[in-house]
């Protein structure tokens, strides 16, 4: 077993709220600087920067997972991570089919652009990415799992756009792979405040919108190698694998 540092919630400049400095090159450089082994690109309701960042990261010895931060119709944010290019395409299609059709106004919400490795703009997303899908949280969970993906409700402790804020509490039968907590709490505090949650895996990520925030919070995955399958097993605490949130390296 080896310890891998993973920040599984990072926005690129494609997200309207993502800083323009969040180019694929800069994200990978910041991840390197922070000694992250694994990152996940999770723009709001789009995966269009995932593939390029995956390639650039691989050139730097970093695994960049494919994903998105999906907004459910209840306006709950959840991180979805998928294993390969085929499922990435399926995920993008799903997002395109279900994102409520509202046009972005870049002056109000920010630019939503995809760039190439030389930072030339190659695509501008017209649909407002911070709006919601017409899908319930359960429908999203089932869809992501059918793609072989991981479903992780985001910043569940926050008072906005979280499971707790939108739905009052975390539904006991929701099939999530882990819960992500924000930088404003700790796993200990969160578990104490939500004692009704039985055993659940908690991860912590940066939710970075600016390069300097990348890796500000991360989760250590103790597993055999840096791969999607190992991450899946580590989240289930399978065969000696486990995850721990920064700064602890204690066994659960």
């Amino acid at each position: 077993m080896k310890a891998f540092r993973a920040d599984l919630h990072i926005h690129s400049l494609l997200s309207p709220c993502g800083d323009l400095a969040m180019s694929p090159q800069n994200i990978v450089a910041a991840a390197r600087q922070k000694s992250l082994d694994i990152i996940a690109i999770t723009d709001h309701n789009s995966t269009r920067h995932c593939q390029l960042i995956n390639e650039l990261a691989a050139e730097n010895g970093i695994l960049a997972l494919f994903g998105a931060e999906i907004t459910s119709k209840e306006e709950v944010h959840c991180v979805a991570l998928v294993p390969d290019i085929a499922s990435l395409e399926m995920l993008q299609k799903y997002l395109d089919n279900h994102l409520v059709n509202i046009k972005n106004d870049p002056n109000k919400f920010g630019y939503q652009v995809v760039v190439d490795r030389d930072e030339n703009i190659v695509y501008e997303e017209q649909h407002l990415l911070i709006s919601a899908l017409d899908q319930s949280i359960e429908e999203i969970e089932k869809t992501i799992h059918a793609m072989g993906g991981l479903f992780i409700p985001a910043h569940v402790d926050r008072s906005a756009f979280s499971l707790s804020s939108q739905l009052g509490f975390i539904p006991d039968d929701l099939n999530y792979d882990a819960l992500e907590i924000s930088k404003y709490t700790t796993p200990e505090k969160f578990r104490k405040a939500h004692s009704y949650l039985k055993d659940c895996t908690i991860i912590q990520s940066s939710d970075a919108h600016f390069p300097e925030h990348i890796g500000e919070r991360y989760t250590v995955f103790n597993m055999k190698n840096a791969s999607f399958d190992e991450i899946k097993l580590a989240l289930k605490t399978c065969d000696g694998r486990f995850v721990s949130t920064f700064p602890g390296l204690k066994k659960p």
Binding site: E74, S136, I137, S159, S164, S165, Q166, L167, G168, F169, P171
Partner: protein, 114 residues
């Protein structure tokens, strides 16, 4: 005033939880954030929302609310529907928006109190 009075006066659809139509109404609360409703709705309130997730029933039961009105023609999801029947807390429906429904319910409750 009971839930049934409001159903009749506002011509609301009754989806489920019919056993609770005789629940007395103490006031109303309009919000789509369940955490907010959990913190601020009072016992016996009729709750106006666009959320259809089954957690609305858990909140309604926890806070001992009289009924829920779904706005804009929205319908409860299947498990929400079942929970409502189990708990006996009615889920009602209106085609109007929250603003309009809230205004009408407010007026009815004011009239009754005056």
């Amino acid at each position: 005033m009971t839930v049934n009075d409001i159903v009749k006066m506002l011509d609301l659809e009754v989806f489920c939880g019919k056993q609770g139509l005789t629940n007395p109404i103490t006031g109303g609360y309009t919000s789509d954030l369940l955490s907010d409703v959990m913190g601020h709705a009072d016992q016996g309130n009729i709750w106006i929302t666009l959320q259809t997730h089954k957690n609305i029933m858990a909140i309604a039961s926890l806070k001992d609310l009289a009924a829920i009105i779904l706005v804009k023609g929205l319908k409860p999801e299947k498990d929400t529907f079942e929970k409502s029947n189990e708990e006996g807390i009615p889920i009602l429906g209106s085609r109007a928006e929250s603003f309009e429904v809230s205004g009408k319910v407010y007026n009815l409750l004011q009239m009754k109190i005056a």
